[in-house]
Amino acid sequence: MADAPLASNLATPEPAGEDDAPLYVARKAIYPQAVKGQFRRIKWIVLAITLGIYYFLPFIRWDRGPNAPDQAILVDLANNRFYFFFIEIWPQEVYYITGLLILASLALFLMNAVAGRLWCGYLCPQTVWTDLFYSIERLIEGEKRDRIRREKEGRKLEIFSLRLLKHSIWLMIAWWTGGAWVLYFADAPTLVKELATFQAPMIAYIWIGILTFTTYTLAGFMREQVCTYMCPWPRIQAALTDEYALNVTYRYDRGEPRGSAKKNDALRKAGVPAGDCVDCGQCVAVCPTGVDIRKGLQLDCIQCGLCIDACDTVMAKIGRPTRLIAYDTDMNVQARIEGRPEVRRILRPRTVLYAGLIALVGAVMISALAFRNNADLSVLHDRNPMFVRLSDGSIRNAYTVRVGNKHLDDRRFALTVTGLNAPKIDIVGGEIDSQGRAVLTVKPDQTLEARVLVTASDNTLEPSTTLTFTLTDLSSGETAHASDHFKAP
């Protein structure tokens, strides 16, 4: 067992002189082999669900009445609105998106604390699209050996036509990716019709072009380099994990010393300890990032579990127990070697903390949403002049008031002001009701700007008094407040 590479060693260091070794390593092209098994199935299902959501979500309808679009998810940039099923967000409420992003990163941390890079292996768009592109490549050009054979036999026309087909299908998928993206920003069925008849706005074609390009290059050519070199998450992930987190692990306690099936069988019969790993290299052959999982946990490994499937197939063939590679922890591998009991602990300070934070942020968001104000009031004091003396000696201040109506129908509001001794409110171009309140009618899902004048006849005014403006919905009684100052000489 002494030769067994410990996971903590990570990759074996290159033997060349460390100082003179070039910092740049040329990329070795990876042609992962097809594989069947439990994790491959899970990956297909996740791929179908995530891509299904991405491509078809814009077509889901959600009735909001006549004054708003009926698309369930819509980023309406022209009107500064974001619709998400029953939620409608105005630009100033972008903190809801912040909350969602915080939830997303906490979920990522929790996933990582429970079972490592679940996100990288199954859910990340880079993984999903690369996986799709790989399977299309295999479908058309076959496995690596088929390609090498074609090269050797010099079937140039066949090679060319297969490549052409592959790239055309890739480009089509890439185009659909961009096509689906723009559907989130406009009424999807209308835009599809416009795109089909080449009448869509230029910006739609530009964005489709950009996303076609990024999908085609990232999933078709950059592939695992995005994960290895471009993505920050592998680095952050390594700092957030601990020894209890499940990871795709080569169980070297069982696998080593590796050797041929026959030799190891003979050794076992002779009573000499022998490993289960037959060094067939299948785990490497199927790996989409080209790593050798037997070298232990490493940055390039996205933990997709495909090596587990590949190894299980081999183990089943040679009649040894499966899961030589499995979701396990290095700590438990060591424990087994040393004869200590295994430790599996899901409830740990970090998992409890992450789950608690998710619950907390979720609760804050839900209550913020539930108690969200559907009337908006903002007040801006005139800068020049700060105040006006009227002929009877009273002092008047002028304000620009903006009232927002987040309901999808007309609303009538009354505006009142407190904080002064008997202030008189007036509104330019508006009406004053019998109780001396300014009345404003705001159109559905709109804001209204009004010039509001507040007059105080009190002659004991401070240079600055804090005022509170109160907006009251005349039918529902809902209120919104804003404060500003009343300036006097």
Binding site: R383, P385, V388, S391, G393, R396
Partner: protein, 292 residues
């Protein structure tokens, strides 16, 4: 710095050096990165295209105009025309609608006020202040005291023809120089100044003869300012009983007015501004708050 023209090869990298060496550090003669070099060539090619399409080279009395004959001035004119065209509908509507009716149409009123605010900044703010707050001698347009009247029609008339302006339709009438022209003597001016202050409840100087002041007022001032000093908008004579003093409320300021007269000038604008702009200005000034 040592300079050596002989080709040298760096021992560690095997790359030739440029022969430039500073403090024993020599510069490797590595080629420029290809992508950089090609981007550079591409920018050169691009610039040639630029010469052809856009104005580029100065000539003796002119310049190469380029295939598109593009000019920044024309571009601005085009932009302004496009803006005018965009606003044409609302502008036409504003031109056809009476002042009173505009105030009843929130959309048109908001448009007029926005137009008026811009025009005010361009034309009126130098005297009346950016928000119409006024200054000594330049009326505050936010308050409710109007020398020549504060209704929409009166404001429009004042903007159009001015006051004491070059236009015959402008408001006429000014405060005479009672002292300078010898109509009143200095003690009379002092007494009437105290009397005027007393009209709006301001304290008067000790020993002021208000009875004498009242007599001077009745004989000289009441004709324009009214028997009670409440003013007359026909003549632009200010109300002397309110709290608003265009030139200041202190006795010295009042005496200065009595001695040298007052007569601020509001220019006539109808020769410079079109009718719609004057309309927009009227509505903006009216909306500042103090108008009737």
């Amino acid at each position: 710095m040592a300079h050596d023209t002989h080709e040298q090869v760096d021992a560690v990298t095997g790359v030739t050096t440029t022969g430039h060496s500073w403090d024993g550090i020599s510069e490797l003669n590595n080629p420029l990165p290809r992508w950089w070099l090609w981007s550079f060539y591409l920018t050169i090619i691009w610039s040639i295209g630029y010469w052809i399409v856009y104005p580029a080279w100065p000539l003796a009395a002119s310049y190469t105009r380029g295939f598109f004959n593009w000019q920044s001035r024309e571009a601005i004119v085009e932009d302004l025309d496009a803006l005018k065209a965009q606003r044409a509908g609302m502008t036409a509507k504003l031109a056809q609608t009476s002042l009173e009716d505009v105030t009843k149409n929130p959309e048109l009123f908001a448009f007029a006020r926005a137009q008026g605010k811009a025009a005010f900044g361009d034309n009126c703010a130098p005297c009346h202040g950016a928000g119409g707050g006024g200054a000594k001698g330049y009326p505050n347009l936010n308050d409710d005291d109007w020398l020549w009247g504060g209704t929409l029609a009166q404001i429009e008339h004042t903007i159009r023809y001015g006051a004491r302006s070059t236009n015959d339709k402008g408001h006429q009438g000014s405060m005479p120089a009672f002292g300078r022209d010898g109509m009143l003597k200095r003690p009379e001016i002092s007494n009437v100044a105290d009397y005027v202050r007393s009209l709006s409840g301001l304290p008067v100087e000790k020993g002021a003869d208000l009875t004498a002041g009242a007599k001077v007022f009745a004989d000289n001032c009441a004709a324009c300012h009214g028997p009670k000093g409440q003013g007359n908008q026909e003549l632009g004579a200010p109300n002397l009983t309110d709290k608003i003093w265009l030139f200041g409320a202190d006795k010295a300021a009042i005496m200065e007015g009595l001695t040298n007269g007052r007569g601020g000038v509001m220019p006539t604008w109808h020769e410079r501004l079109d009718d719609t702009t004057i309309k927009a200005l009227t509505l903006y000034v009216h909306s500042l708050g103090g108008a009737r």
